[in-house]
Symmetry: none
Subunit: 418 residues, 2 copies
């Protein structure tokens, strides 16, 4: 069963809004074990929408089209479907009455334009509108089908869950049923190519036999490299079992090659990892930032419940703020000693158990004889000796800042775990 | 000139990430007066990528393909381009050396997989990689062209701006005798529909006669509403003159309806506006953040030359940090008084001329009897009485934080201007 998503709307092509419907539908289809090999985006143009439908129907079993069902002149999805399916559009009286009722319930009178929304290709089934004025359509085209839903996400998701998914499952029942599940291992500290090399044996195992598993890599810039495991199986439990087993194998290979670089699974961010470690140990923390200018603190407060363990931070951008407020020794501020003293200083000032600090050179010019990209991270944990480590980061100013922030959090993660 | 965007990556079809590249490119192309009638998304499958290229080349003059240039086994865009262009892939020694150097600069050795990234279709031009290891490609196919860029947005946008846009403009020069130029007025503080109403007269003027101008609105979420003026004229100078005149008219209407809500033009951010005002007045500033947790500081340090006027900040997340470090009176910390004292406190502590503060409730629970979304902004400017104002913001935690940050900066902008 192959389903193709076609998003209709000139505003999508102009980049005025993002095609979040395509993403959401892709996720839902994958979760139901339905293949989706292509997505298309097309503007509000009759000829081009027809062309998109024809291409989609030539290579997929079903098409989900989002958008172009509104009441204005540029809402022409209904006409394009009628043309491709070679069925006339007919006014459906009960839909018209329903739309009129929706307007009068809001104390408004229906505009004549809205009559358009009650036009249905002959032989198509209507998906009743519960959230907006436009009904959805299920329109057969030979032994294939076009599903039409409004572009408003809130209306689209409702119709997909209420009508389209069950219709698709009915069609799939003839063929085989499978579910697809994914799991993502999030890493920080190595390159995509090195990871691919280390995990190579798993890659080959799946390529040369029908394991139902695939392994892929996803470079996520400042969030590191994600390793995605995907399993196709007869049911949820079987897919989970495959993923559990594969996760063990992949973790073994990654750990042997790079040590402890996996910081989270699926949606777990680096700051989530920090939050968990601190909560487990009943520790509070504070952060002193120079080059990152508040980025680390702003990531930490996004973790739900941060007030339990996050005390606050000092953005010590000017050197004398480092001397006067954090109490570090006067001298070069981009150094291992400065980082160590900043971590200790901020923990003392804000009465935290753990202090984390970053000082470095984001450019464009070198500072304290250190080249651009040099960053020192300091970690001070109550009852242990404070330490600092140095990094050499690539990129421009914003990039060096972002890399510094996640690198510093990763340094703290490793220190808390050891 | 018609350009089609093809995004490559199974992770896009599975909905694991959104196709933000398509949106960004759509916006850039539109701003340059280049038509884009279709976008496609296709997975990491050789046959299907080739199919997508063939469809795109049959109806567009140029194709921009994003993704699939990485160093792993599932990065096959290069091969697909070579097939469609019917050109063999050749190892380009200088690119290989460049990649090796990038690795050694970070103290790592290049993995054998990265050799793939130095493979170039014969006759293609390379777009030098400055931010990642993958170079981009400009590969002619008959009198059409495929541009290939990495899927990482940070690398893609750089290559588009540095190499692709100028190449496209060169190709357009042969066929078109008009230039299209845009100018964006950035506003904060009103709604898209209210702006559209206020600017309505201009809208109508352009709709009913051939002025060569259009006005459009672009809701940009946490960055406010952008008003985009676009002029089509015979040359650069004529387009600029049209834009200058239109900007005066539009500013007049906006100012009459809403006062001083335009904070920048084109790429000028809110923090850039602050930086300019401070520099003109030779003032330094410091920021005290609670609910925004460092967001304001991290925006400010992104302005080039921030060290001239930015002293630093305190992220006073825990209440007692506000009492002890910033010296505010004990009591409710989400209040006008607290905001005022935080602004004065941080200016004193960090020896700055100007103090800016934010305290508020991001939820999920109310605090100090204030409902979620209540935010107080404090402003303390040397030689003037400190003041605070309150805001009621919509949205979830991250949204309230982001809105608070730009609202606070806007409050400071207005105070510095008055």
């Amino acid at each position: 069963m192959r389903v193709e998503v076609v998003a209709v709307g000139t505003e999508l092509l102009l980049g005025q809004i993002a095609d979040t419907n395509g993403q959401w539908l892709g996720e839902q289809l994958a979760a139901s074990g339905i293949d989706s090999h292509f997505h298309q985006v097309v503007g509000d143009n009759h000829e081009r929408i027809v062309q998109a439908f024809e291409i989609a129907l030539s290579r997929s079993d079903a098409v989900i089209v989002c958008g172009g069902l509104g009441p204005t002149q540029d809402d022409i999805t209904r006409d394009a479907i009628a043309e491709v399916a070679q069925r006339p559009l007919e006014l459906q009286q009960d839909i018209l009455e329903r739309i009129e009722k929706m307007f009068s319930a809001r104390g408004r009178s229906m505009s004549a334009n809205n009559r358009l929304q009650a036009m249905v290709p002959r032989g198509a089934t209507v998906i009743e509108q519960t959230r907006g004025t436009a009904p959805g359509l299920i329109c057969p085209v030979g032994d294939k089908v076009i599903y039409a839903v409004p572009g408003v996400p809130y209306e689209m998701t409702d119709m997909f869950e209420r009508a389209i998914l069950s219709d698709l499952r009915g069609r799939m029942a003839h063929t085989q049923h499978a579910v697809i599940r994914s799991r993502v291992l999030r890493t920080w500290g190595t390159s995509e190519s090195a990871l691919a090399e280390a995990v190579g044996p798993r890659f080959e195992a799946h390529e040369h036999s029908e394991t139902g598993l695939t392994v892929a890599f996803l470079a996520s810039g400042i969030e590191g490299i994600k390793v995605r495991l995907t399993a196709k199986a007869v049911d949820e439990a079987a897919a989970s079992a495959l993923l559990d087993q594969e996760e063990i194998e992949v973790r073994k290979l990654i750990s042997a090659a790079f040590g402890d670089i996996i910081f989270g699974v699926d949606d777990q961010t680096m700051e989530f990892a920090i939050a968990s470690l601190l909560a487990q140990r009943s520790l509070t923390m504070a952060v002193a930032e120079s080059v990152t200018g508040g980025l680390i603190a702003s990531r930490l407060v996004n973790v739900s419940g941060a007030s339990q363990w996050f005390r606050g931070g000092v953005v010590s951008y000017a050197s004398d703020v480092k001397y006067d407020v954090l109490g570090i020794d006067e001298g070069p501020v981009v150094s291992e000693q400065a980082a160590r003293q900043m971590a200790t200083g901020v923990a003392t000032l804000l009465k935290a158990d753990v202090g984390l600090s970053v000082t470095g050179v984001a450019g464009p010019d070198p500072q304290d004889e250190q080249p651009v990209g040099t960053v020192f991270v300091g970690v001070a944990i109550k009852g242990r000796e404070a330490f600092a480590s140095s990094l050499h980061l690539p990129g421009d100013r914003p990039r060096i800042r972002q890399y510094s922030a996640i690198s510093a959090l990763d340094a703290l993660r490793r220190a808390l775990q050891s």
